[in-house]
Protein backbone atom coordinates (compact mmCIF):
# COMPACT_ATOMS: atom_id res chain seq x y z
CA UNK A 1 0.00 0.00 0.00
CA UNK A 2 1.36 3.40 -0.90
CA UNK A 3 1.65 6.08 1.72
CA UNK A 4 -1.56 8.02 1.05
CA UNK A 5 -4.06 5.13 1.26
CA UNK A 6 -2.14 3.81 4.26
CA UNK A 7 -2.51 7.14 6.07
CA UNK A 8 -6.15 7.41 5.02
CA UNK A 9 -6.96 3.95 6.36
CA UNK A 10 -4.99 4.64 9.55
CA UNK A 11 -6.82 7.87 10.29
CA UNK A 12 -10.20 6.37 9.30
CA UNK A 13 -9.74 3.34 11.56
CA UNK A 14 -8.65 5.56 14.44
CA UNK A 15 -11.63 7.81 13.97
CA UNK A 16 -14.12 4.94 13.69
CA UNK A 17 -12.60 3.29 16.73
CA UNK A 18 -12.66 6.50 18.73
CA UNK A 19 -16.43 6.83 18.30
CA UNK A 20 -17.03 3.09 18.12
CA UNK A 21 -20.56 3.24 19.45
CA UNK A 22 -21.61 5.59 16.67
CA UNK A 23 -19.70 3.52 14.10
CA UNK A 24 -21.22 0.26 15.27
CA UNK A 25 -24.72 1.69 15.38
CA UNK A 26 -24.42 3.16 11.90
CA UNK A 27 -22.98 -0.06 10.46
CA UNK A 28 -25.66 -2.16 12.18
CA UNK A 29 -28.56 0.02 11.14
CA UNK A 30 -27.30 0.26 7.57
CA UNK A 31 -26.35 -3.41 7.39
CA UNK A 32 -29.64 -4.64 8.78
CA UNK A 33 -31.79 -2.31 6.71
CA UNK A 34 -30.19 -3.75 3.58
CA UNK A 35 -29.82 -7.24 5.01
CA UNK A 36 -33.39 -7.81 6.12
CA UNK A 37 -35.02 -7.47 2.68
CA UNK A 38 -32.18 -9.48 1.17
CA UNK A 39 -32.54 -12.14 3.86
CA UNK A 40 -36.28 -12.25 3.32
CA UNK A 41 -35.79 -12.80 -0.40
CA UNK A 42 -33.17 -15.51 -0.06
CA UNK A 43 -35.14 -17.16 2.72
CA UNK A 44 -38.29 -17.37 0.60
CA UNK A 45 -36.28 -18.54 -2.40
CA UNK A 46 -34.73 -21.30 -0.35
CA UNK A 47 -37.99 -22.28 1.28
CA UNK A 48 -39.82 -22.42 -2.04
CA UNK A 49 -37.03 -24.43 -3.68
CA UNK A 50 -37.11 -26.94 -0.84
CA UNK A 51 -40.88 -27.21 -0.85
CA UNK A 52 -41.10 -27.56 -4.64
CA UNK A 53 -38.39 -30.21 -4.64
CA UNK A 54 -40.25 -32.19 -2.01
CA UNK A 55 -43.50 -31.95 -3.91
CA UNK A 56 -41.82 -32.97 -7.16
CA UNK A 57 -40.75 -36.38 -5.84
CA UNK A 58 -44.13 -37.11 -4.26
CA UNK A 59 -46.69 -37.37 -7.10
CA UNK A 60 -49.84 -37.92 -5.04
CA UNK A 61 -50.79 -37.99 -1.39
CA UNK A 62 -53.64 -40.05 0.02
CA UNK A 63 -55.31 -39.20 3.30
CA UNK A 64 -58.57 -38.93 5.14
CA UNK A 65 -60.93 -36.17 4.08
CA UNK A 66 -60.33 -32.94 5.96
CA UNK A 67 -57.74 -30.26 5.85
CA UNK A 68 -55.68 -30.67 2.70
CA UNK A 69 -53.03 -28.45 4.27
CA UNK A 70 -52.68 -30.68 7.34
CA UNK A 71 -52.48 -33.74 5.12
CA UNK A 72 -49.79 -32.26 2.86
CA UNK A 73 -47.63 -30.71 5.55
CA UNK A 74 -47.96 -33.88 7.58
CA UNK A 75 -47.21 -36.33 4.77
CA UNK A 76 -44.47 -34.32 3.05
CA UNK A 77 -42.84 -32.36 5.88
CA UNK A 78 -43.92 -34.17 9.08
CA UNK A 79 -44.98 -30.72 10.32
CA UNK A 80 -48.72 -31.20 10.87
CA UNK A 81 -51.17 -33.86 11.98
CA UNK A 82 -53.22 -35.13 9.03
CA UNK A 83 -56.95 -35.69 9.47
CA UNK A 84 -57.72 -39.03 11.11
CA UNK A 85 -59.56 -41.82 9.36
CA UNK A 86 -57.11 -43.56 7.03
CA UNK A 87 -56.24 -47.20 7.66
CA UNK A 88 -54.08 -49.85 6.05
CA UNK A 89 -56.94 -51.47 4.16
CA UNK A 90 -57.58 -48.21 2.27
CA UNK A 91 -54.28 -48.69 0.44
CA UNK A 92 -55.91 -51.56 -1.44
CA UNK A 93 -57.90 -48.98 -3.39
CA UNK A 94 -54.61 -47.78 -4.89
CA UNK A 95 -52.75 -51.01 -5.22
CA UNK A 96 -55.63 -53.45 -5.81
CA UNK A 97 -55.66 -53.11 -9.58
CA UNK A 98 -51.98 -52.33 -10.03
CA UNK A 99 -52.44 -48.66 -10.92
CA UNK A 100 -49.79 -47.56 -8.46
CA UNK A 101 -47.91 -48.10 -5.28
CA UNK A 102 -48.88 -46.59 -1.93
CA UNK A 103 -46.28 -46.02 0.79
CA UNK A 104 -47.93 -45.59 4.20
CA UNK A 105 -46.87 -42.93 6.69
CA UNK A 106 -47.80 -42.89 10.36
CA UNK A 107 -47.00 -39.88 12.53
CA UNK A 108 -47.76 -38.70 16.02
CA UNK A 109 -44.82 -39.80 18.12
CA UNK A 110 -41.54 -38.21 19.13
CA UNK A 111 -38.32 -39.39 20.75
CA UNK A 112 -36.38 -36.75 22.62
CA UNK A 113 -38.57 -34.18 20.87
CA UNK A 114 -37.56 -35.51 17.44
CA UNK A 115 -40.46 -36.69 15.25
CA UNK A 116 -40.75 -40.43 14.78
CA UNK A 117 -42.18 -41.47 11.41
CA UNK A 118 -43.57 -44.93 10.77
CA UNK A 119 -43.34 -46.21 7.21
CA UNK A 120 -42.18 -49.19 5.18
CA UNK A 121 -38.94 -50.04 3.44
CA UNK A 122 -40.66 -49.15 0.14
CA UNK A 123 -40.42 -45.51 1.11
CA UNK A 124 -36.61 -45.67 1.01
CA UNK A 125 -36.54 -47.76 -2.14
CA UNK A 126 -38.68 -45.10 -3.84
CA UNK A 127 -36.21 -42.36 -2.92
CA UNK A 128 -33.13 -44.47 -3.43
CA UNK A 129 -31.87 -43.73 0.07
CA UNK A 130 -29.78 -46.20 2.08
CA UNK A 131 -28.09 -45.76 5.46
CA UNK A 132 -24.52 -44.47 5.20
CA UNK A 133 -23.70 -46.35 8.36
CA UNK A 134 -25.46 -49.39 9.81
CA UNK A 135 -28.50 -51.05 8.26
CA UNK A 136 -32.22 -50.45 7.70
CA UNK A 137 -34.68 -51.18 10.48
CA UNK A 138 -35.90 -54.74 10.25
CA UNK A 139 -38.12 -55.36 13.20
CA UNK A 140 -40.16 -53.72 15.93
CA UNK A 141 -38.16 -51.35 18.10
CA UNK A 142 -35.55 -50.54 15.49
CA UNK A 143 -35.13 -47.18 13.84
CA UNK A 144 -32.91 -45.35 11.35
CA UNK A 145 -32.04 -41.73 12.03
CA UNK A 146 -32.03 -38.81 9.58
CA UNK A 147 -28.63 -37.12 9.28
CA UNK A 148 -29.55 -33.98 11.24
CA UNK A 149 -31.44 -35.90 13.91
CA UNK A 150 -28.48 -38.26 14.37
CA UNK A 151 -26.10 -35.33 14.76
CA UNK A 152 -28.38 -33.41 17.10
CA UNK A 153 -29.03 -36.40 19.37
CA UNK A 154 -25.58 -37.95 18.99
CA UNK A 155 -26.98 -41.17 17.53
CA UNK A 156 -25.02 -43.92 15.83
CA UNK A 157 -25.89 -47.54 15.03
CA UNK A 158 -26.40 -49.25 18.39
CA UNK A 159 -27.63 -46.13 20.21
CA UNK A 160 -30.80 -46.50 22.25
CA UNK A 161 -33.42 -43.93 23.09
CA UNK A 162 -36.98 -43.83 24.41
CA UNK A 163 -39.97 -42.34 22.69
CA UNK A 164 -41.62 -39.46 24.56
CA UNK A 165 -44.90 -40.06 26.40
CA UNK A 166 -47.56 -38.00 24.63
CA UNK A 167 -49.01 -36.57 27.79
CA UNK A 168 -49.39 -37.65 31.38
CA UNK A 169 -53.16 -37.54 31.24
CA UNK A 170 -53.43 -39.51 28.01
CA UNK A 171 -52.94 -42.98 29.48
CA UNK A 172 -54.48 -44.70 26.51
CA UNK A 173 -52.24 -42.88 24.06
CA UNK A 174 -48.55 -43.01 23.40
CA UNK A 175 -46.34 -44.97 25.77
CA UNK A 176 -42.55 -44.81 25.90
CA UNK A 177 -40.91 -47.50 23.84
CA UNK A 178 -37.22 -48.11 23.65
CA UNK A 179 -35.81 -47.68 20.16
CA UNK A 180 -32.52 -49.08 18.93
CA UNK A 181 -30.77 -47.20 16.14
CA UNK A 182 -29.73 -49.59 13.37
CA UNK A 183 -28.55 -47.02 10.84
CA UNK A 184 -28.01 -43.36 9.99
CA UNK A 185 -29.27 -41.93 6.69
CA UNK A 186 -27.22 -39.63 4.46
CA UNK A 187 -28.12 -35.93 4.43
CA UNK A 188 -30.75 -35.24 1.77
CA UNK A 189 -31.58 -31.58 2.42
CA UNK A 190 -35.20 -32.57 3.03
CA UNK A 191 -37.36 -32.94 6.16
CA UNK A 192 -36.23 -36.61 6.19
CA UNK A 193 -32.97 -35.42 7.75
CA UNK A 194 -34.68 -34.28 10.93
CA UNK A 195 -36.68 -37.37 11.90
CA UNK A 196 -36.35 -40.98 13.05
CA UNK A 197 -37.88 -43.62 10.80
CA UNK A 198 -39.38 -46.78 12.22
CA UNK A 199 -41.36 -49.66 10.81
CA UNK A 200 -45.15 -49.19 10.82
CA UNK A 201 -45.48 -51.98 13.40
CA UNK A 202 -43.15 -50.10 15.73
CA UNK A 203 -45.34 -47.00 15.38
CA UNK A 204 -48.43 -49.06 16.18
CA UNK A 205 -46.65 -50.41 19.24
CA UNK A 206 -45.83 -46.88 20.38
CA UNK A 207 -49.52 -46.10 19.96
CA UNK A 208 -50.39 -49.04 22.20
CA UNK A 209 -51.70 -51.40 19.54
CA UNK A 210 -49.00 -53.99 20.09
CA UNK A 211 -47.11 -55.19 23.11
CA UNK A 212 -45.38 -58.11 24.75
CA UNK A 213 -45.82 -59.68 28.18
CA UNK A 214 -43.09 -60.63 30.52
CA UNK A 215 -43.37 -63.89 32.37
CA UNK A 216 -44.07 -62.44 35.80
CA UNK A 217 -42.63 -65.37 37.73
CA UNK A 218 -39.32 -64.97 35.93
CA UNK A 219 -39.05 -61.23 36.20
CA UNK A 220 -35.86 -59.94 37.72
CA UNK A 221 -37.15 -56.42 38.07
CA UNK A 222 -37.02 -55.48 41.79
CA UNK A 223 -40.48 -54.81 43.18
CA UNK A 224 -42.11 -56.28 40.13
CA UNK A 225 -43.67 -59.09 42.14
CA UNK A 226 -46.02 -58.30 44.94
CA UNK A 227 -46.35 -61.82 46.26
CA UNK A 228 -47.11 -65.46 45.73
CA UNK A 229 -50.54 -66.96 46.33
CA UNK A 230 -50.29 -70.67 45.97
CA UNK A 231 -50.05 -71.36 42.26
CA UNK A 232 -50.60 -67.75 41.32
CA UNK A 233 -48.02 -65.02 41.11
CA UNK A 234 -49.28 -61.55 41.96
CA UNK A 235 -47.55 -59.06 39.74
CA UNK A 236 -47.04 -55.36 40.24
CA UNK A 237 -49.05 -53.32 37.77
CA UNK A 238 -45.96 -51.95 36.13
CA UNK A 239 -44.98 -55.40 35.03
CA UNK A 240 -48.22 -56.38 33.43
CA UNK A 241 -47.37 -54.94 30.05
CA UNK A 242 -43.78 -54.14 29.48
CA UNK A 243 -42.99 -51.92 26.57
CA UNK A 244 -39.32 -52.65 26.39
CA UNK A 245 -38.76 -54.21 23.03
CA UNK A 246 -35.15 -55.29 23.27
CA UNK A 247 -34.04 -58.87 23.28
CA UNK A 248 -35.63 -61.25 20.83
CA UNK A 249 -38.92 -59.51 20.90
CA UNK A 250 -40.13 -60.67 17.56
CA UNK A 251 -41.31 -63.91 19.17
CA UNK A 252 -43.52 -62.64 21.91
CA UNK A 253 -44.53 -59.22 20.54
CA UNK A 254 -48.04 -59.35 19.26
CA UNK A 255 -50.94 -57.19 18.10
CA UNK A 256 -54.56 -57.49 19.04
CA UNK A 257 -57.04 -56.97 16.29
CA UNK A 258 -56.78 -56.97 12.50
CA UNK A 259 -53.71 -55.08 11.20
CA UNK A 260 -55.72 -54.13 8.11
CA UNK A 261 -57.77 -51.82 10.30
CA UNK A 262 -54.74 -50.25 11.94
CA UNK A 263 -54.51 -46.52 11.40
CA UNK A 264 -52.05 -44.64 9.25
CA UNK A 265 -51.97 -40.89 8.65
CA UNK A 266 -51.19 -40.65 4.97
CA UNK A 267 -49.78 -42.52 2.03
CA UNK A 268 -47.46 -41.34 -0.70
CA UNK A 269 -48.94 -42.63 -3.93
CA UNK A 270 -46.80 -43.41 -6.97
CA UNK A 271 -49.03 -44.02 -10.01
CA UNK A 272 -47.70 -46.27 -12.72
CA UNK A 273 -48.15 -43.66 -15.44
CA UNK A 274 -50.07 -40.48 -16.31
CA UNK A 275 -53.15 -42.44 -17.23
CA UNK A 276 -53.09 -44.33 -13.94
CA UNK A 277 -52.72 -41.03 -12.14
CA UNK A 278 -55.80 -39.62 -13.85
CA UNK A 279 -57.80 -42.73 -13.02
CA UNK A 280 -56.67 -42.71 -9.39
CA UNK A 281 -57.46 -39.01 -8.97
CA UNK A 282 -60.93 -39.61 -10.36
CA UNK A 283 -61.45 -42.48 -7.98
CA UNK A 284 -61.53 -40.25 -4.89
CA UNK A 285 -63.86 -37.50 -6.08
CA UNK A 286 -67.12 -39.16 -5.08
CA UNK A 287 -69.71 -37.23 -3.07
CA UNK A 288 -69.59 -39.60 -0.10
CA UNK A 289 -65.90 -40.15 -0.37
CA UNK A 290 -64.17 -40.33 3.04
CA UNK A 291 -60.66 -40.05 1.61
CA UNK A 292 -58.81 -37.49 -0.49
CA UNK A 293 -56.08 -37.96 -3.07
CA UNK A 294 -54.29 -34.72 -3.88
CA UNK A 295 -51.37 -33.42 -5.95
CA UNK A 296 -48.59 -31.92 -3.78
CA UNK A 297 -47.16 -29.83 -6.66
CA UNK A 298 -50.42 -27.95 -7.11
CA UNK A 299 -50.87 -27.58 -3.38
CA UNK A 300 -47.35 -26.20 -2.87
CA UNK A 301 -47.81 -23.66 -5.66
CA UNK A 302 -50.94 -22.37 -3.96
CA UNK A 303 -49.12 -22.09 -0.62
CA UNK A 304 -46.11 -20.35 -2.16
CA UNK A 305 -48.34 -17.88 -3.93
CA UNK A 306 -49.76 -16.92 -0.56
CA UNK A 307 -46.34 -16.70 1.08
CA UNK A 308 -44.84 -14.67 -1.74
CA UNK A 309 -47.83 -12.34 -1.70
CA UNK A 310 -47.07 -11.54 1.92
CA UNK A 311 -43.34 -11.54 1.12
CA UNK A 312 -43.82 -8.98 -1.63
CA UNK A 313 -45.61 -6.60 0.71
CA UNK A 314 -42.98 -7.09 3.41
CA UNK A 315 -40.27 -6.65 0.79
CA UNK A 316 -41.69 -3.37 -0.44
CA UNK A 317 -41.93 -2.08 3.11
CA UNK A 318 -38.37 -3.25 3.81
CA UNK A 319 -36.98 -1.57 0.69
CA UNK A 320 -38.70 1.69 1.57
CA UNK A 321 -37.32 1.39 5.09
CA UNK A 322 -33.83 0.68 3.77
CA UNK A 323 -33.90 3.78 1.57
CA UNK A 324 -35.03 5.90 4.52
CA UNK A 325 -32.41 4.39 6.79
CA UNK A 326 -29.68 5.06 4.24
CA UNK A 327 -30.75 8.68 4.00
CA UNK A 328 -30.74 9.02 7.77
CA UNK A 329 -27.35 7.27 8.01
CA UNK A 330 -25.89 9.59 5.37
CA UNK A 331 -27.27 12.52 7.31
CA UNK A 332 -25.77 11.20 10.54
CA UNK A 333 -22.40 10.79 8.84
CA UNK A 334 -22.59 14.29 7.38
CA UNK A 335 -23.45 15.62 10.81
CA UNK A 336 -20.51 13.83 12.37
CA UNK A 337 -18.25 15.45 9.78
CA UNK A 338 -19.59 18.86 10.73
CA UNK A 339 -18.92 18.09 14.35
CA UNK A 340 -15.33 17.41 13.34
CA UNK A 341 -15.01 20.62 11.32
CA UNK A 342 -12.22 21.83 13.63
CA UNK A 343 -10.22 18.69 13.07
CA UNK A 344 -10.59 18.91 9.31
CA UNK A 345 -9.74 22.63 9.33
CA UNK A 346 -6.61 21.78 11.31
CA UNK A 347 -5.53 19.29 8.66
CA UNK A 348 -5.97 21.96 6.00
CA UNK A 349 -3.97 24.49 8.04
CA UNK A 350 -1.16 22.00 8.50
CA UNK A 351 -0.87 21.66 4.74
CA UNK A 352 -3.32 18.92 3.69
CA UNK A 353 -5.02 19.49 0.36
CA UNK A 354 -8.79 19.54 0.03
CA UNK A 355 -8.53 16.30 -1.94
CA UNK A 356 -6.56 14.59 0.79
CA UNK A 357 -9.04 15.56 3.50
CA UNK A 358 -11.88 14.37 1.23
CA UNK A 359 -10.05 11.09 0.76
CA UNK A 360 -9.76 10.64 4.52
CA UNK A 361 -13.51 11.09 4.90
CA UNK A 362 -14.29 8.89 1.91
CA UNK A 363 -12.11 6.14 3.32
CA UNK A 364 -13.91 6.39 6.63
CA UNK A 365 -17.31 6.20 4.94
CA UNK A 366 -16.12 3.29 2.80
CA UNK A 367 -14.93 1.34 5.83
CA UNK A 368 -18.22 1.98 7.58
CA UNK A 369 -20.10 0.81 4.50
CA UNK A 370 -17.89 -2.27 4.26
CA UNK A 371 -18.84 -3.12 7.84
CA UNK A 372 -22.49 -2.61 7.01
CA UNK A 373 -22.22 -4.82 3.92
CA UNK A 374 -20.55 -7.53 5.98
CA UNK A 375 -23.59 -7.49 8.24
CA UNK A 376 -25.85 -7.52 5.18
CA UNK A 377 -23.99 -10.48 3.72
CA UNK A 378 -24.24 -12.34 7.01
CA UNK A 379 -28.00 -11.81 7.00
CA UNK A 380 -28.34 -13.04 3.43
CA UNK A 381 -26.18 -16.09 3.99
CA UNK A 382 -27.72 -17.03 7.34
CA UNK A 383 -31.33 -16.50 6.29
CA UNK A 384 -31.77 -19.69 4.21
CA UNK A 385 -30.93 -21.67 7.36
CA UNK A 386 -34.31 -20.52 8.65
CA UNK A 387 -36.12 -22.02 5.65
CA UNK A 388 -37.57 -24.94 7.69
CA UNK A 389 -39.10 -22.33 9.96
CA UNK A 390 -41.00 -20.76 7.06
CA UNK A 391 -42.30 -24.19 6.17
CA UNK A 392 -43.42 -24.76 9.75
CA UNK A 393 -45.14 -21.37 9.83
CA UNK A 394 -46.85 -22.12 6.53
CA UNK A 395 -48.01 -25.43 8.02
CA UNK A 396 -49.62 -23.41 10.80
Amino acid sequence: MTALPRHAVFLAVRSLRHSWRRSLLLALVLGLSLGVPLALTSLLERASTDMRARAAVSPLVLGAKGSESDLMFGALFFAATPPRGLSMQDLARIEGDGLGQAVPIALGATAQKTPVVGTTIDSFDRRGVRPTSGTMFATIGECVAGADAARALGLAPGSRLYTDPASLSDLAGVYPLELTVTGVLPPTGTPDDGVLFVDLRTMWSIRGLGHRHDEPAESETPGALIGQDGERTIAGEALAIERKSAGGIADDFHFHGDPATFPIDAALVYPGDAKAQAILLGRFTGKDETLQLARPDQFIERVLERIFGVGRILGAVAVATAVLVMLVAALAFALSIRLRADELALMRRLGASRGRVAMFLTTEAALLLAGALAITATCAVAAPLLAPLVMRMAAG
Binding site: A3, D342, R349, L350, G351, R356
Partner: protein
Protein backbone atom coordinates in the same frame (compact mmCIF):
# COMPACT_ATOMS: atom_id res chain seq x y z
CA UNK B 1 18.59 46.91 13.03
CA UNK B 2 15.18 48.19 13.90
CA UNK B 3 12.24 47.91 11.59
CA UNK B 4 9.08 49.93 12.00
CA UNK B 5 5.81 48.01 11.87
CA UNK B 6 2.57 49.77 11.39
CA UNK B 7 -0.94 48.48 11.68
CA UNK B 8 -3.99 50.44 10.86
CA UNK B 9 -7.51 49.58 11.82
CA UNK B 10 -9.93 51.92 10.11
CA UNK B 11 -12.66 53.60 12.06
CA UNK B 12 -13.56 53.66 14.85
CA UNK B 13 -9.96 53.54 16.14
CA UNK B 14 -6.84 54.11 14.18
CA UNK B 15 -3.53 53.14 15.68
CA UNK B 16 0.02 53.39 14.60
CA UNK B 17 2.66 51.47 16.44
CA UNK B 18 6.39 51.19 16.13
CA UNK B 19 8.27 48.23 17.46
CA UNK B 20 11.84 47.08 17.11
CA UNK B 21 12.41 43.67 15.54
CA UNK B 22 15.84 42.12 15.52
CA UNK B 23 17.08 40.66 12.31
CA UNK B 24 20.32 39.15 11.24
CA UNK B 25 20.88 39.78 7.58
CA UNK B 26 22.99 36.71 6.95
CA UNK B 27 20.32 34.17 7.96
CA UNK B 28 17.01 35.64 6.90
CA UNK B 29 14.21 33.08 6.93
CA UNK B 30 11.26 35.34 6.48
CA UNK B 31 11.15 38.87 5.24
CA UNK B 32 8.24 41.08 4.45
CA UNK B 33 7.98 44.21 2.35
CA UNK B 34 5.30 46.74 3.18
CA UNK B 35 2.26 44.51 3.54
CA UNK B 36 -1.30 45.65 3.24
CA UNK B 37 -4.09 43.23 3.99
CA UNK B 38 -7.73 44.16 3.83
CA UNK B 39 -10.88 42.21 4.52
CA UNK B 40 -14.41 43.37 4.03
CA UNK B 41 -16.42 42.94 7.18
CA UNK B 42 -20.18 42.76 7.08
CA UNK B 43 -22.09 45.21 9.19
CA UNK B 44 -19.03 47.05 10.39
CA UNK B 45 -16.09 48.86 8.93
CA UNK B 46 -13.52 47.02 6.85
CA UNK B 47 -10.53 45.53 8.58
CA UNK B 48 -7.15 46.69 7.35
CA UNK B 49 -3.68 45.65 8.46
CA UNK B 50 -0.51 47.42 7.39
CA UNK B 51 2.86 45.87 8.22
CA UNK B 52 5.92 47.68 7.00
CA UNK B 53 8.97 45.63 6.13
CA UNK B 54 10.52 43.36 8.71
CA UNK B 55 12.67 40.28 8.67
CA UNK B 56 13.29 37.27 10.92
CA UNK B 57 16.42 35.16 11.18
CA UNK B 58 16.90 31.61 12.41
CA UNK B 59 16.63 31.32 16.17
CA UNK B 60 14.89 34.71 16.57
CA UNK B 61 11.77 34.96 18.68
CA UNK B 62 9.15 37.61 18.25
CA UNK B 63 6.03 38.25 20.28
CA UNK B 64 3.22 40.03 18.48
CA UNK B 65 1.03 41.66 21.08
CA UNK B 66 -2.22 43.45 20.82
CA UNK B 67 -5.89 43.24 21.80
CA UNK B 68 -8.34 40.88 20.14
CA UNK B 69 -9.16 41.88 16.60
CA UNK B 70 -6.01 43.89 16.12
CA UNK B 71 -4.74 41.53 13.40
CA UNK B 72 -2.30 39.26 15.25
CA UNK B 73 -3.75 36.07 13.82
CA UNK B 74 -3.99 37.66 10.38
CA UNK B 75 -0.29 38.46 10.46
CA UNK B 76 0.48 34.82 11.33
CA UNK B 77 -1.75 33.61 8.49
CA UNK B 78 0.11 35.93 6.10
CA UNK B 79 3.41 34.45 7.28
CA UNK B 80 2.17 30.87 6.78
CA UNK B 81 0.77 31.63 3.35
CA UNK B 82 -2.80 30.84 4.37
CA UNK B 83 -3.67 34.43 3.51
CA UNK B 84 -2.05 36.58 0.86
CA UNK B 85 -1.44 40.32 1.18
CA UNK B 86 -3.20 42.79 -1.05
CA UNK B 87 -0.01 44.79 -1.44
CA UNK B 88 3.55 43.96 -0.65
CA UNK B 89 4.84 40.43 -0.19
CA UNK B 90 6.04 37.82 2.27
CA UNK B 91 9.23 36.12 1.22
CA UNK B 92 10.19 32.81 2.74
CA UNK B 93 13.54 31.23 2.07
CA UNK B 94 13.96 33.77 -0.70
CA UNK B 95 10.69 33.03 -2.50
CA UNK B 96 7.59 35.17 -2.57
CA UNK B 97 4.59 33.32 -1.16
CA UNK B 98 2.29 35.33 -3.42
CA UNK B 99 4.02 34.01 -6.51
CA UNK B 100 3.84 30.38 -5.45
CA UNK B 101 1.06 28.07 -6.63
CA UNK B 102 -1.51 26.89 -4.09
CA UNK B 103 0.19 23.51 -3.97
CA UNK B 104 3.62 25.03 -3.42
CA UNK B 105 2.28 27.20 -0.59
CA UNK B 106 0.72 24.11 0.99
CA UNK B 107 4.01 22.28 0.66
CA UNK B 108 5.79 25.27 2.24
CA UNK B 109 3.30 25.29 5.11
CA UNK B 110 3.60 21.53 5.64
CA UNK B 111 7.38 21.32 5.48
CA UNK B 112 8.70 24.68 6.68
CA UNK B 113 6.12 26.03 9.11
CA UNK B 114 5.19 24.62 12.50
CA UNK B 115 1.99 25.86 14.10
CA UNK B 116 0.71 26.02 17.69
CA UNK B 117 -2.84 27.10 18.48
CA UNK B 118 -4.69 28.54 21.47
CA UNK B 119 -7.12 25.60 21.64
CA UNK B 120 -4.29 23.07 21.09
CA UNK B 121 -6.09 21.57 18.05
CA UNK B 122 -5.15 17.98 18.75
CA UNK B 123 -7.05 15.12 17.13
CA UNK B 124 -9.10 13.32 19.78
CA UNK B 125 -9.02 9.95 18.03
CA UNK B 126 -5.21 9.83 18.02
CA UNK B 127 -2.90 9.30 20.98
CA UNK B 128 -0.04 11.60 21.94
CA UNK B 129 2.60 10.15 19.61
CA UNK B 130 0.13 9.82 16.73
CA UNK B 131 -0.82 13.48 17.13
CA UNK B 132 2.82 14.54 17.02
CA UNK B 133 3.30 12.52 13.84
CA UNK B 134 0.08 13.77 12.22
CA UNK B 135 1.83 16.28 9.87
CA UNK B 136 3.56 13.37 8.14
CA UNK B 137 0.18 11.94 7.15
CA UNK B 138 -1.09 15.21 5.70
CA UNK B 139 1.39 16.03 2.97
CA UNK B 140 3.22 13.86 0.50
CA UNK B 141 6.45 15.83 0.87
CA UNK B 142 6.82 14.48 4.38
CA UNK B 143 7.71 10.82 4.86
CA UNK B 144 6.67 9.00 8.01
CA UNK B 145 9.73 6.84 8.64
CA UNK B 146 11.77 5.64 11.59
CA UNK B 147 13.66 8.92 11.67
CA UNK B 148 10.39 10.81 12.00
CA UNK B 149 9.28 8.53 14.84
CA UNK B 150 12.60 8.93 16.58
CA UNK B 151 12.33 12.71 16.21
CA UNK B 152 8.80 12.65 17.66
CA UNK B 153 9.85 10.57 20.66
CA UNK B 154 12.87 12.79 21.23
CA UNK B 155 10.67 15.90 21.21
CA UNK B 156 8.16 14.28 23.57
CA UNK B 157 11.06 13.58 25.87
CA UNK B 158 12.19 17.18 25.65
CA UNK B 159 8.72 18.55 26.53
CA UNK B 160 8.44 16.10 29.44
CA UNK B 161 5.96 13.61 27.98
CA UNK B 162 8.26 10.66 27.31
CA UNK B 163 6.14 8.34 29.47
CA UNK B 164 2.81 9.50 28.02
CA UNK B 165 3.40 8.95 24.33
CA UNK B 166 0.62 6.37 24.00
CA UNK B 167 -1.89 8.20 26.12
CA UNK B 168 -5.22 9.37 24.67
CA UNK B 169 -5.43 13.15 24.34
CA UNK B 170 -8.47 13.42 26.58
CA UNK B 171 -6.45 12.07 29.48
CA UNK B 172 -3.97 14.95 29.37
CA UNK B 173 -4.07 18.25 31.25
CA UNK B 174 -4.20 21.50 29.29
CA UNK B 175 -0.53 22.11 29.91
CA UNK B 176 0.32 18.63 28.64
CA UNK B 177 -1.82 19.14 25.55
CA UNK B 178 0.05 22.31 24.62
CA UNK B 179 3.33 20.44 25.11
CA UNK B 180 2.10 17.87 22.59
CA UNK B 181 1.20 20.70 20.21
CA UNK B 182 4.69 22.17 20.58
CA UNK B 183 6.25 18.80 19.79
CA UNK B 184 3.97 18.50 16.75
CA UNK B 185 4.96 21.98 15.55
CA UNK B 186 8.64 21.07 15.67
CA UNK B 187 8.58 17.46 14.46
CA UNK B 188 8.99 18.36 10.78
CA UNK B 189 12.06 20.54 11.58
CA UNK B 190 10.37 23.72 10.32
CA UNK B 191 12.32 26.95 9.84
CA UNK B 192 9.44 29.04 11.13
CA UNK B 193 7.18 28.34 14.10
CA UNK B 194 3.94 30.30 14.42
CA UNK B 195 2.05 30.22 17.70
CA UNK B 196 -1.34 31.89 18.04
CA UNK B 197 -2.14 32.63 21.70
CA UNK B 198 -0.35 29.45 22.83
CA UNK B 199 -0.90 30.29 26.51
CA UNK B 200 -4.44 31.61 26.14
CA UNK B 201 -6.10 28.52 27.59
CA UNK B 202 -3.60 27.82 30.34
CA UNK B 203 -3.50 28.53 34.06
CA UNK B 204 -1.43 31.60 34.96
CA UNK B 205 1.20 29.43 36.63
CA UNK B 206 1.68 27.48 33.40
CA UNK B 207 1.73 30.35 30.92
CA UNK B 208 5.35 31.28 31.46
CA UNK B 209 6.52 27.67 31.57
CA UNK B 210 4.95 26.91 28.20
CA UNK B 211 6.09 30.20 26.64
CA UNK B 212 9.66 29.52 27.70
CA UNK B 213 9.48 25.94 26.53
CA UNK B 214 8.32 27.18 23.13
CA UNK B 215 11.17 29.69 22.87
CA UNK B 216 13.72 27.16 24.07
CA UNK B 217 12.63 24.39 21.71
CA UNK B 218 12.31 26.69 18.70
CA UNK B 219 15.79 27.95 19.35
CA UNK B 220 17.10 24.40 19.81
CA UNK B 221 15.56 23.55 16.44
CA UNK B 222 17.08 26.71 14.97
CA UNK B 223 13.64 27.91 13.88
CA UNK B 224 12.36 31.46 13.95
CA UNK B 225 9.42 31.86 16.30
CA UNK B 226 6.51 34.28 16.02
CA UNK B 227 4.00 34.23 18.86
CA UNK B 228 0.76 36.18 18.82
CA UNK B 229 -0.37 36.99 22.34
CA UNK B 230 -2.27 39.52 24.38
CA UNK B 231 -0.74 38.14 27.54
CA UNK B 232 1.63 40.69 29.12
CA UNK B 233 3.06 38.18 31.58
CA UNK B 234 4.90 36.13 28.99
CA UNK B 235 6.41 38.92 26.90
CA UNK B 236 9.67 38.66 28.79
CA UNK B 237 10.30 35.26 27.26
CA UNK B 238 10.77 36.60 23.74
CA UNK B 239 13.66 38.29 22.03
CA UNK B 240 11.50 41.06 20.62
CA UNK B 241 7.98 42.35 20.94
CA UNK B 242 5.86 43.80 18.19
CA UNK B 243 2.79 45.65 19.34
CA UNK B 244 -0.12 46.11 16.98
CA UNK B 245 -3.54 47.64 17.36
CA UNK B 246 -2.56 49.25 20.67
CA UNK B 247 -3.08 52.99 21.09
CA UNK B 248 -0.32 53.22 23.68
CA UNK B 249 2.24 51.75 21.37
CA UNK B 250 4.67 49.24 22.79
CA UNK B 251 8.38 48.92 22.71
CA UNK B 252 10.63 47.03 24.95
Amino acid sequence: MKTPVQTTVKTPVQTTVQTPVQTTLDALLVETTNIVFRRAAEGSSDFELRVPAFALSAGASLAVRGPSGSGKSTLLALLSGELLPLEGEVRAQGRSLSEMSDAARRAYRATSVGQVFQTFELVASLDVLENVLLPFRLHGALVLDDAARARALELLGRVGLADKSRRPIDRLSHGERQRVAIARALVTRPSLVLADEPTGNLDPALKRVIAELLVLEARAANAALVVATHDESILGSFGAVLAIGDAHGGTR
